[in-house]
Amino acid sequence: MVSRSAASGSPHSKPQRAVARIDKNAPVNFTFDGRSYRGFAGDTLASALLANNVHLVGRSFKYHRPRGIMAAGSEEPNALIRLGKGAYAEPNLRATQIEIFEGLYAESQNRTPSLKFDIGAINSVLDRFFPAGFYYKTFMWPASMWMRYEHVIRHAAGLGKVADDHNDPDRYEKTHAHCDILVAGGGATGLMAALQAAKSGARVILADEQNEFGGWLLGEADIMIGDVSAFNWISDIVAELAAMPNVTLLPRTTVFGYLDHNYLTLNERVTDHLPSRPAHLPRQRLWKIRAKQVIIAQGAHERPLVFAGNDLPGVMLAGAVRTYINRYGVCPGQRTIVVCNNDDAYRTALDLHHAGALVVVTDLRANATGPLMRAVRDAGIKILQGHAIIAAYGNHRVARVEIAPVNDSVTEITGDIDHHDCDLIAMSGGLSPAVHLHSQARGKLQWDDAKLCFRPSATHEPSFNIGACNGSFDLAAGLKEAVRAGTKAATATGHKTTALDTPDVQSPKQSWRPLAAWKIPNGHAAGRGPKAFVDFQNDVTASDVSLAAREGYQSVEHLKRYTTTGMGTDQGKTSNINALAILANALGNEIPAVGTTTFRMPYTPSNIGAIAGRDIGDLFDPVRLTRMDDWHRAHVATFEHVGQWMRAWYYPQNGETMQQAVNREVKAARTTAGLLDASTLGKIDIRGRDVAEFLNRLYTNAWSKLGIGKCRYGLMLKDDGMVMDDGVTTRIGENHFHMTTTTGGAAGVLDWMEEWLQTEWPDLEVYLTSVTEQWAVATLSGPNAGKILQDAGIDFDLSPAEFPFMSMKEGHIGGLAARIFRISFTGELSYEINVAARHGLALWTRLMAAGKAHGITPYGTEAMHVLRAEKGFIIVGQETDGSVTPHDLGMDWIVSKTKPDFIGKRALARHTMEYDDRKQLVGLLCSDPSTVIPEGAHAVLDPNQPLPMKMLGQVTSSYFSPNCGRSIAMAMLKGGHALKGQTVFFPMLDGSVLKAEIVDTAFFDPKGARING
């Protein structure tokens, strides 16, 4: 028997019939809008505020109307608050779901400057100017002003402010889980189903959004299960489940998404309820669960009644009032009016009465009878049958109501209006099953004309709906469904089980058939008189819905977008059915014919932090480093990302600019020697009898006659004839080849080759193995390259006769076993030295040491780009974009005319390939040799032509070449090959125009004289 406290003047209730779920010995201090309050462990922020007689907790979205706490769970539309300070602040949290802890700091939202005095409330007076679709009507024109309108609108309307700091300091995690049976919802039926399923030995996960299991039963005082109170029944069954090793219990965990193939997403609030959050635990954890069977036991939401002034603080859902009384020991009012269209709210009247409040019941139904009505009458409570609250009034809290008799269908006022003073209205418009998860999973709904609700019909995924979310509001019936579903789900997952006995339920006898009364008359014409709200969070009134219907928004999806009904953080949990029914009435249609809007995840808002999890900071994306990376870092290289690889970009010395460093590196590679870390190049080891034939089909050129130890450059086309990758492939042995690919193309090329082998040419005996990371590669380039290799201790003859260009030898360098390829991406004498990756750093340092006397200079990827551009070598992905053929690149020489076939051959023969306006690769020399034309610049033939100009094409590569002593560029220009010698122009953003001559792409050493050093 608990009373909350003895503080005088507080709304704390008199002793309860059952033990409330708060711990009176554990007071908790918290702050709301700058004032300190005290609650108890077990309180939510909402219950603690109500216990402190605080009803006004927020301002509404559009009209800035004062709003209070309406519900007791996740369906709460009004009581949205901002929790925490600074970077920890989080907006739009439902006060009804926040467990209080010592030092909790909360603020109300959407008010300036304070909750009690809010200048935005002027919108409420100006409401004639804010009808449904207001934005669409007012801000349509001129379109250019929308950005400015939007700024003002977003500021004036809206919900809470995000955190002050963009860096969320909290830790979030994700995890995967699998189970036989996931039970979504841990109320009475969810617990029963979980127990039934778990008894079979099946792996069961039970999740519930509340801090403790029990669902709405936690708020009931008049129910016995078996021979114990509902509270005790819950504790017993939770203890039994907790002791089972095959059961995972997840309290404070919302199943917020139900995706294909029984894949569900859950948000677990791990430490949100703790005053200080341990660093080793995530604040929240995202669970991604694959379940063989799902049992949905989400419960139901009570509907508000749509009467004028129904949004005032102090107007609450009747079931929520019961929860505050029984679970939290708070009676939210003393002079109370219960207004309802059903039996269930009579239990609230009894609980209010037992809590010491004055109660009047206003029943919309004219002749409801039954044991509950008798019990209420016996308690001396006044019942006004066939009456309605037609309007409620108050300033920051409801203060008085107008009650009048109404006709049977509640469409007209039939008698005199009576005034009553009150401080609480407990309203009940019937129950709506929470069909959200079922519907997210493409389950079907059917309208229940007796219970006035949509409930699940056919499921799409292997799942069951049980209890209130199935429209089975009667507890005993729900428990039977739970046993049935638990048994079936266990059997379906291959487990044997016998059905448990369903316990007897002793609860008040009641009817679950409410009266259809969707909009309560107030004696005024539509659109006049005080507002009656349908969607509280989005400030949508009954007349907004009717107006939208009159204006032609007859589809429920259009209604939703036009009025914003059902949007926001609550997604219309309390409003959707009322809105549908009012729309159906306005259209003269039936509710099932109007239908529902689409249910989408998330069920309740889920923190983005939990979805990101630990994929942040240095775990955001793997960064791949080469084996020489330590050296690059020690020598202050600047790095660039190439895919996931981190490559040395350039090595600035003594305060050099990037341009100075690159110039020096490029120069050194042609005058002394340069050393490049080329480890990231893709490498594929290819073995088998048919490799040469395979390469013939894969590349455009011929491979059959490649000798052992010889290398060949190849272009690979997609089947559309467009260049996809290039690289050098070497014959290591008769049936053994080593292919290199571009760094970025490595994985894609391997997949491409496997696909052809597995699906088109399974007859070819070819095996592929990626060896990209088996080898570390240093490319030594320049006239001194040979001398450096000698000094580094090469163990074979490097003379061009013994080791010619485009050949490979295996040997040792300084004792390290190596494959050395005499190939060149610079046009200089060049060696690509491959060693086992473990020796990559050793190779690099040995070469640097041996090269010291020979002017060795490490160079990065930028110098590599300049060096190859000086030679006119392409880079796939820079000169090409997936729409470029070998011919476009001027590389006809590499396309075999005699091979019977290769991938892309047929596409190259299409007549469109011969159009003379295809973009073709050319070289460019800017008229000002010191100006580097920006890459991406567009070329035109006549810079004085009227806009829009005719574009010829774009610059693909552009650098200053220290070896040419001037700027150079490459471009893809329409009909470019035929334009050699002509001048093109590049209009710049600043109005200037650059001029360039079209030339060959080989800018440096066009004859290739330098290849032997």
């Binding site: 995690e173 994700k174 960064v623 791949r624 088996q774 295996e810 004792g815 076993a817 473990r838 750093l841």
Partner: protein, 204 residues
């Protein structure tokens, strides 16, 4: 042609994680460390591709039988053969043994249609054990890691967070994890981070 094997066995040089020091983070709840892990430095790794005659020779040369089913591995002492695909296996062997085994296999396999490729430096193997090993892996891997569903002897190629991995269940509380060498620093960091709530010990 020079013989690449002349400098083997060779345990010198770098491994994927040779720059890392040992590191411990206690179990915040007291009790046993949840995850103890370390690099199996220089573990020999050969990628095997081929058909039935490959299996026979591998049995003779290494002592390992091929796994009878997909996503399984077979062990003989410290050697394991892991199923990777219908004609692809990974042989793990003692550090430094890979070249000798590769040479013997190349000599002995009768059919010409096979490929044996040394990937010892291409892949990094980590040994993982401890009471929380499965809970830690579940944070990044979508497979069902329940001991009954992923029992000792089972293996799989999947993702661990953002890295491709091969997982081998050695025991209820022990795994071998194999990833690309360049992903190993990421995987190591990720494992330590994911194990924070259970405590971890990284052994260099």
């Amino acid at each position: 042609m020079a013989n690449l094997s002349s400098s083997r066995p060779d345990f010198s040089g770098q491994t994927a994680l040779s720059g890392l020091a040992s590191n411990t983070s206690a179990n915040p709840d007291g009790g046993a460390i949840g995850l103890v892990f370390g690099e199996m430095a220089h573990l020999g790794k050969l990628n095997l591709r081929g058909q039935n005659d490959l299996a026979k020779t591998v049995k003779v040369i290494t002592g390992c039988t091929f796994p009878p089913k997909a996503n399984r591995f077979q062990s003989a002492g410290d050697r394991h053969v892991v199923w990777l695909g219908p004609d692809e296996y990974l042989l793990l062997c003692e550090a430094g043994k890979e070249q000798e085994l590769q040479d013997s296999l190349n000599r002995m396999i009768p059919s010409p249609h096979f490929a044996i490729t040394d990937v010892s430096d291409s892949l990094c193997a980590l040994s993982l054990r401890g009471p929380a090993v499965r809970a830690v892996l579940a944070k990044g891997c979508g497979l069902d890691l329940h001991p009954k569903k992923f029992a000792a002897g089972q293996s799989a190629q999947s993702l661990l967070a953002l890295s491709a991995v091969t997982l081998m269940a050695v025991a209820d509380d022990a795994f071998i994890l194999i990833c690309r060498t360049s992903f190993a620093p990421y995987v190591q960091r990720w494992l330590a981070d994911a194990a924070l709530e259970y405590g971890y010990q990284y052994i260099a």
